[in-house]
């Protein structure tokens, strides 16, 4: 046995915790003492030390302390916040209840509140409650920008941003899920509290790693729609904590959310386009039938894409699929009806949603209204949203980037020109116009190409209490 190993085995060197690549290494604790550590930790032959996922940091610390094993903690790199909340706003009753429930769960859990109910304020209350350096993880750059502005205004301190070309880490930092996945193995020790906004994005093989590689003992998940089609929402309990508080749209509508109505408008395709639509759809469906594919299954569509790429006939079918979709998405009658709605709601703030960027840019060019897509840079997005908020712009068209969370309090009209069958996407889009304002009555229009597959897509996405 070498001297170093003998020294470690004899317990001469201090037991040390280190954060390495999203894990916690427990060094200089003899291998025979595994029982001291929680089950998440195991002996790693590669580095001759114990290793646990960073998320188990708190339980490792508790276990060593309970066993009275002295240790040097080089893992924890987070601190107490020096700057307290500088702007305090009284929480609404349900926000106060939510934070109390989270506190009772030892600062680990998910709060479910409808869009527009002020989830971000619950986040602020959590930061103020724990006073630890905090990382906020949000799904889009728009939400990152929004959290940045809110934190900047609420705490008298600089706020860091990681993502969208920026990499500045501060005790209060905001990042995207993508950047969290990429950088958590380096950043994971620097925050005592992590807030996952729109946390239904978290479960899944990639993003879940961001939660596992972070050693923050305190975790808060915020969402309006925790349920996932793949059933992986059950993983939120282990990644963040249990659902500690929940209120749905119908419970808060009227008092805390704006009153609203939804209208579905069916428009007919012109004859030539109808014929082309039918022709292309038949080509695509014939291929699907010949291949024996079931598109309703979970992998149905990806199976179609895979088979289609293997033959000239398949490629033709894929082209036909795209064309019939294009025809349904941007039917001239839809755009004509949009023109009517923009006139009808003159003086109001209108948000137009599309399924794809091409339609968003087509609407932008035709009606000369600003478009926000994933290609729009952060500065321009901020400027567009600020002008929309101030009323300088009367309308904004967006593909999917404003689906979630982004605060557009003055929008009262939403027009869904095209979308997926996702209930969550549709509820989130409705949520954009539900921020309360005196006397506000919001309206969501859904324009659907009649007698196309859009009708059934629309039926699927309306399967939520909010639309009944």
């Amino acid at each position: 046995m070498t001297k170093a190993r003998a020294k470690a085995a004899s317990g001469d060197a201090a037991v040390t915790l280190r954060f390495v690549g999203g894990t916690v290494e427990v060094r200089h604790l003899d291998r025979s003492r595994q029982a001291v550590l929680p089950a998440a930790a195991g002996w790693d032959e590669r580095t001759a030390c114990f290793r646990a996922p960073a998320a188990a940091y708190a339980s490792v610390v508790l276990a060593l302390s309970s066993a009275r094993v002295p240790f040097e903690d080089q893992a924890r790199a987070y601190s107490e916040l020096e700057d307290p909340l500088s702007v305090r706003r009284d929480p609404r009753p349900y926000q106060a209840e939510a934070i109390a429930a989270w506190r009772s769960a030892r600062g680990r859990g998910v709060v479910v509140l409808p869009t527009g109910a002020g989830k971000t304020h619950v986040g602020l209350l959590a930061i103020a409650d724990r006073q630890r350096s905090t990382l906020v993880v949000a799904p889009t750059l728009d939400l990152v920008r929004q959290w940045y502005d809110l934190l900047r205004a609420s705490f008298d301190t600089e706020v860091g941003v990681v993502g969208g070309g920026e990499h500045e880490v501060r005790p209060l930092t905001v990042t995207t899920y993508d950047s969290a996945y990429l950088h958590m193995e380096h950043l994971g020790a620097r925050f005592g509290l992590v807030i996952f906004d729109e946390c239904h994005h978290l479960p899944g093989p990639s993003y879940a790693l961001a939660a596992e590689q972070c050693l923050a003992p305190f975790r808060l998940g915020l969402t309006a729609t925790p349920e996932r089609a793949d059933g992986r929402d059950a993983e939120l309990a282990s990644l963040i904590g249990p659902t500690v508080y929940r209120k749905d749209i119908v419970e808060l509508s009227g008092r805390y959310l704006a009153d609203y109505e939804t209208q579905r408008i069916s428009v007919e395709l012109p004859r030539a386009q109808r014929e082309e639509y039918e022709r292309e759809r038949a080509t695509y469906l014939e291929f699907v039938r010949k291949q024996g594919l079931y598109l309703g299954g979970r992998t149905g569509f990806s199976d179609f894409i895979m088979r289609a790429s293997r033959s000239a006939e398949g490629r033709r079918a894929l082209g036909a699929y795209r064309r019939q979709r294009e025809l349904a998405f941007a039917a001239p009658a839809k755009l004509e009806y949009l023109r009517y709605l923009l006139g009808e709601h003159r003086g109001e703030r209108v948000l137009v949603f599309t399924q794809d960027n091409a339609t968003a840019y087509a609407v932008s060019r035709r009606f000369l209204i600003p478009a926000i897509t994933h290609q729009t840079k952060v500065k321009e997005r901020s400027q567009i949203l600020a002008r929309f908020s101030s009323g300088e712009y009367d309308a904004v068209v967006t593909s999917k980037v404003l689906n979630e969370g982004v605060d557009v309090p003055d929008a009262s009209v939403a027009v869904v020109l095209s979308g997926s069958g996702s209930v969550r996407e549709h509820v989130q889009r409705l949520g954009r116009i539900l921020r309360p304002r005196d006397g506000k009555r919001a309206v969501l229009y859904e324009i659907v190409s009649a007698r196309t597959s859009e009708t059934s897509t629309s039926d699927r996405r309306r399967e939520h209490d909010a639309y009944r």
Binding site: T2, E185, L368, E392
Partner: protein, 408 residues
């Protein structure tokens, strides 16, 4: 770099096998690559959308779509796009147009007139209405302009394609096992340096064949098989290919369903003419020391070292030479650290002080300003600081000191 969806492979049981190009496919690939290169070369100044459409048209006609898409990706990787300097294009123009449009819509009783809004902006800027239409979204990705390309050779591109496929497969690797053999300690050191640089972890095992087995993954792999280290593993491939021989197996999580598949790949380093590369010689200064040491006629023999000293959790040493006492059989390994890294010397000093599994002699150039005395208290190691070139006699003296005065 190719992406995993562009890999031409088939499943054979639980294994992923790359589909090699037949002679006919290779010929078709070279023709297609050549056509793509011609199209792009002729499109300098064209927009990204135009170039992508032209390349897509070429791919659509190809017999093997995946091969065509792969070549297209490699050709696109060699393109450098910039933004065309359209006067007044971008956010400022858009803001101007959209603000006027918004004001126009708000005017009570008036019908929104698109042409009127654009016409007013065009008149104010002294350009045509068409120029305003063109410039409105000229800064989008699709409107970016090809500023330079290549140089790229179709034959070379197709030759490199199989390796690009291997690299793309490794993007979905959870763990890689690499049996490597290098002719020089320096090559091993370079490989371990790359592993450390990529923040990968490994287990090392000496194989009876004289090669070493490296099981490579990352810290979090201890808990679950994750493809998070796939990019690092893919980027490590060139360093692995620099080894004289490589047998690589990878545990993959393949496809949308992340199916567990195995992948195997073998490689022998070859010279430009395709012959197996001759074993590289020792570094010049080590070679010179070896020769002069043999002329000393001492009790010690010297030969290039074939071992690696791995101390998990502590560090790794790749010796250059192994000295053996002909009478007693005692061995001393020597690592020549030269004059490149003072930090590397201090790491060795720490290891020596902590204890080593054998006797080690570290040779360090005096240019690194390290004193031999720093290792006086270590039983198993000596530091030899040399000025200019290493002396065989000085090395012999230290071997004798290590085996007579010091013991492990």
């Amino acid at each position: 770099m190719l992406t995993p969806d562009l890999v031409r492979a088939r499943r054979k049981g639980r294994e992923l096998c790359l589909r090699p190009l037949t002679a006919e496919q290779r010929e078709e690939a070279v023709q297609l690559a050549s056509a793509m290169i011609d199209v792009v070369t002729a499109s300098i100044g064209g927009t990204r959308d135009e170039i992508e459409a032209a390349l897509r048209d070429l791919s659509a006609e190809a017999g093997d779509l995946k091969l065509a898409e792969g070549l297209k990706k490699l050709v696109e990787d060699a393109c450098v796009f910039g933004t065309e300097d359209v006067s007044g294009a971008g956010p400022e123009l858009r803001a101007d147009v959209f603000l006027r449009a918004s004001q126009s819509r708000r005017r009570a009783g008036a019908e929104f007139d698109r042409g009127e809004v654009l016409g007013a902006v065009a008149a104010e800027r002294g350009v045509s209405l068409e120029a305003i239409e063109r410039a409105l979204y000229a800064d989008l990705r699709g409107a970016q302009v090809l500023s330079s390309f290549g140089p790229l050779d179709a034959e070379r591109l197709v030759d490199d394609y199989p390796m690009a496929q291997v690299q793309a497969v490794l993007l979905r690797a959870a763990r890689v096992t690499a049996d490597v053999r290098c002719a020089r300690a320096a090559d091993y050191r370079a490989l371990f340096h790359k592993l450390k640089f990529r923040r990968l972890l490994y287990r090392l095992e000496a194989l009876p064949s004289g090669a070493f087995r490296l099981v490579i993954d990352g810290p979090f792999s201890f808990f679950e098989s994750v493809t998070k280290y796939g990019l690092s593993l893919a980027l490590l491939l060139p360093a692995l290919l620099d080894c004289e021989s490589l047998v690589l197996t990878a545990d993959l999580r393949w496809g949308k369903r992340r199916e567990a598949l195995a992948f195997r790949f073998e490689h022998q380093r070859r010279d430009e003419a395709g012959r197996a590369a001759p074993p590289p010689s020792l570094p010049e200064e080590v070679s010179a020391l070896l020769e002069s040491f043999e002329r000393l006629s001492s009790d010690w023999s010297a030969a290039p070292a074939t071992s690696i000293i791995d101390l998990p959790g502590l560090g790794l040493i790749v010796p250059d030479l192994c000295f053996e006492n002909r009478r007693t059989g005692e061995q001393v390994l020597m690592e020549v650290l030269g004059y490149h890294s003072r930090e590397a010397v201090w790491r060795r000093v720490d290891l020596a002080r902590a204890g080593l599994p054998g006797r080690l002699l570290f040779a360090v150039s005096s240019r690194l300003r390290v004193s031999e005395e720093v290792l006086d208290d270590a039983d198993c190691a000596e530091l030899y600081v040399y000025k200019g070139s290493m002396s065989a006699r000085a090395v012999l003296r230290r071997l004798q000191a290590l085996t007579s005065g010091k013991s492990t």
